[in-house]
Amino acid sequence: MKDTLLEVTGLSKSFSGLKAVNNISLTVERGEVLGFLGPNGAGKSTTMKMITGFLTPSEGNISVAGCNIKEMPLLAKRRIGYLPEGAPAYGEMTPMGFLHFIADIRDIPRTHKKARIDEVLEKIHLTQVAHQPIETLSKGYKRRVGIAQAIIHDPEILIMDEPTDGLDPNQKHEIRQLIKEMATEKAILISTHILEEVDSVCTRAIIIARGEVIFSGTPLELASKSSYHNAVTIMVDSGLEKEIQLMLEEITEIKDFEITPQKDFTRMTMKPKVGVTDLRQSIQAKLDSTVYGIHQLYVEEGRLDEVFRTMTRKHESGGIHRT
């Protein structure tokens, strides 16, 4: 059953004549994690700022759990948890004091305020530093304070602007894990320019460039846009690659070869022509008929970074407003 918690239609925003966001529409259902991708300055943050009610859209509609943010801003804001870019917080406060402040504004009843704060501190691993001023904490902890603040009222809609930006790999992993845990009962929108994140946490992705949506679909669909989609990669002994290439060139389904010498082996990647889905079988058959030793053979899903680059390059921006 579909339960659309966030619905954005025809959203646009101009800053002094420059269109930072141009006619963006998106929906997020309960149980979904929508990844919002795009190069810096593409309009990701601006879109999020409009959804959360910080900026007023020039055009378009935003409906948060059925509440129009323009008509019922306070009601809509109550349903959202928001982590702004850079996780701003009051530096002189402690995480404990800060969360008490947020809990008060969010009107969490006194009877379970304390318990809820302790629970969140525990969940986000902040208990240790709960009584240190936020300005003295490391970047990872500061980010966690921002996340704690966003989920303190257990919102149905969670919007996070680059939640893992600037964190070390362990911290990134932890935060992604947390997002996945929460995903089942919430609608989550995260912006990122880290592609592995899309693969590991998102159920759907949207790419925007110059303020416009240029792709919308599942991470797998995104990967299939890659010229590496269904490409076959093999590892052969160095020195043999020329002979093998000559032999494989007989297969007409191969579009081109990519040969990368490595330490002891050479990696050969064969990209399929458009529409070819089973290159592996033809290559396997060909190789089986020869004596060459193949060390590895696998089919690629597609390379997200390549898709991202080719898609956004077409829309390459020149000095657009940084948002």
């Binding site: 109550r78 702004p84 917080a89 008060d104 504004i105």
Partner: protein, 244 residues
Amino acid sequence: MKGLKAIFKRELGSYFDTPVAYVFIVIFLVLNGIFTFYVGGFFERGQADLAPFFEFHPWLYMFLIPAVSMRLWSEERKSGTLELILTLPVSLTASVVGKFLAAWVFTALALLGTIPIWVTVNYLGDPDNTVIAISYIGSLLMAGGFLSIGSCVSALTKNQVIAFVVSFIICLAFNLSGFPMVLDVFNAWAPQFVVEVIGSFSFLTHFDSIQKGVIDIRDLIFFASLIGFWLFANVLAIEFNKGD
């Protein structure tokens, strides 16, 4: 209302989280002492009243209040917490009023620190305590006026120093506008009503009568509407500049 209360509580607490509060209170009290006893000649006058104490308040507030108000909104802008506060379920007006009230209560606490002077004058003589009580209220009202100016100005910039300097200049203008020196400049060429309007904006004139123990409803309305006006401008300043 809940939101306003939470904003107020946090803001008031933040004064005491940093050394600002203590530095301010100490400077306020020391300067008050110097002005009252040395410049104002509290003892030499031989009168049991607090006129030399209150007389200097407009001048003291002129540069001390901008120091209290300069961080109210500029700090939010600088640290990015403006985005946080504006995406929480609390209206902008409630935030503006909550922060203003916190700064006002803080100033009131500093003013409470001068109670020993009141006690002293009672010990030394037999002052008219009603006049003194009214003067305290007047002084607090005037502080509110200065604070609303400072709060609005701090909403326009990320830079606390700029907020301080600009608020100081505006406060100075509000003080001086009743000064004969300034009014004479306008007297030479401007029609009489313009001079009167300029003069009527002076904090000095309005505070002067209160300080003599006279509660004129017009003075109260002046300060109340002044605060209302600047806080309204404060809301607009944020509403139209939040994107930067």
